[in-house]
Amino acid sequence: MKRYLPLIIFAVLCVFLVIGLQLNPKEVPSPLVNKAAPDFRLPILNDTKKEFVPADMKGQVWLLNVWASWCVSCREEHPLLNNLAKQNILPIIGLNYKDKDGPASEWLINMGNPYQLSVIDAGGQVGINYGVYGVPESFLIDQKGTIVHKFIGPLTLSSIQNELIPMINKLKAAQ
């Protein structure tokens, strides 16, 4: 037994290494999860006379998706959002982060618009309040306005099917 001890220690270290390599250091746990979604009042893209506040969504489970026309990964995510919107599972609100209205509108025309509406956060202040650091990000918000989950980086087919949809179903069932 004793002569195998170094080998065992080495094996344990290897296991830790393998686990460590599979973690994503870019996914920083958000302190906002299980807290009330930060409030804001922002003009709506393509309808700038109107404003949107998160309280407008009270009573609904909704997704706040942070996007920008300059964001490369958003391009990858966008068809999935279009698909999700078609299924009518939940309303998706876009937070157009540090973008310009012209390119943003064009982007929605070219790529399709999965959003019930998008709000303009040109200065990125609301982004800071939501702890956004890697666009795209998505916040799942429940009926009471609490952030249930934060998806960092683009949503994938598997994260939608295995995480997002079960979470939505659970929230709707709990009501």
Partner: protein, 167 residues
């Protein structure tokens, strides 16, 4: 050999190049230098807060050192809040509320960081224990097997006895 005319031209030409270079490099850094020139004391305060905060985009850089867009926004945020009279702790709390403890370069002692803080000391204790045991064993091995005259006498006595009795 240079003619007299050329010798006069050469320093002039060099100076011209130097002036042009300075003008252009000065220009490209105008954005950064501007805020510093406005209020160097405030800028020093901004940097004092920013060096303790991690940039979430380039995770191994501080907000003070990073050129990422978000770091620039957060430096502006720090500057605004300092101008509003907020303290360093207020600003750090503000950042932690949004980005979590990860934003701190100096993680606080909490339940989930206990291993991080105490782990090295635990490893040190384990290392010392192993070392001590090793040294003791080494000492036992090198110690003389027979160390007193009574031991020798006992050994002689035992050797005299027949094998059976010993068992």
């Amino acid at each position: 050999m240079l003619s007299r005319a050329k010798a006069l031209w050469l320093p002039f030409f060099c100076t011209l190049i130097a002036v042009i270079t300075i003008c252009f490099t000065g220009n490209s850094r105008a954005d950064e230098a501007k805020s510093l020139a406005d209020n160097p004391a405030l800028e020093a305060q901004v940097m004092n807060v920013a060096v303790d905060l991690r940039c979430l985009v380039c995770q191994n850089e501080t907000i003070a050192g990073s050129h990422a867009d978000l770091a620039i926004d957060l430096r502006n945020q720090i500057r605004d809040q300092l101008q509003q009279g907020k303290s360093k702790q207020d600003i750090i709390d503000y950042m932690v509320a949004r980005y979590g403890d990860f934003v701190l370069y100096n993680p606080p002692l909490k339940k989930n960081t206990l291993f991080l803080w105490l782990g090295p000391f635990a490893l040190l204790v384990i290392g010392f224990t192993i070392l001590l045991r090793h040294i003791r064993r080494e000492q036992q091995l090198t110690a003389p097997l027979v160390n007193s005259s009574t031991d020798i006498a006992r050994a002689r006595e035992l050797l005299k006895k027949p094998q059976k009795e010993l068992e």
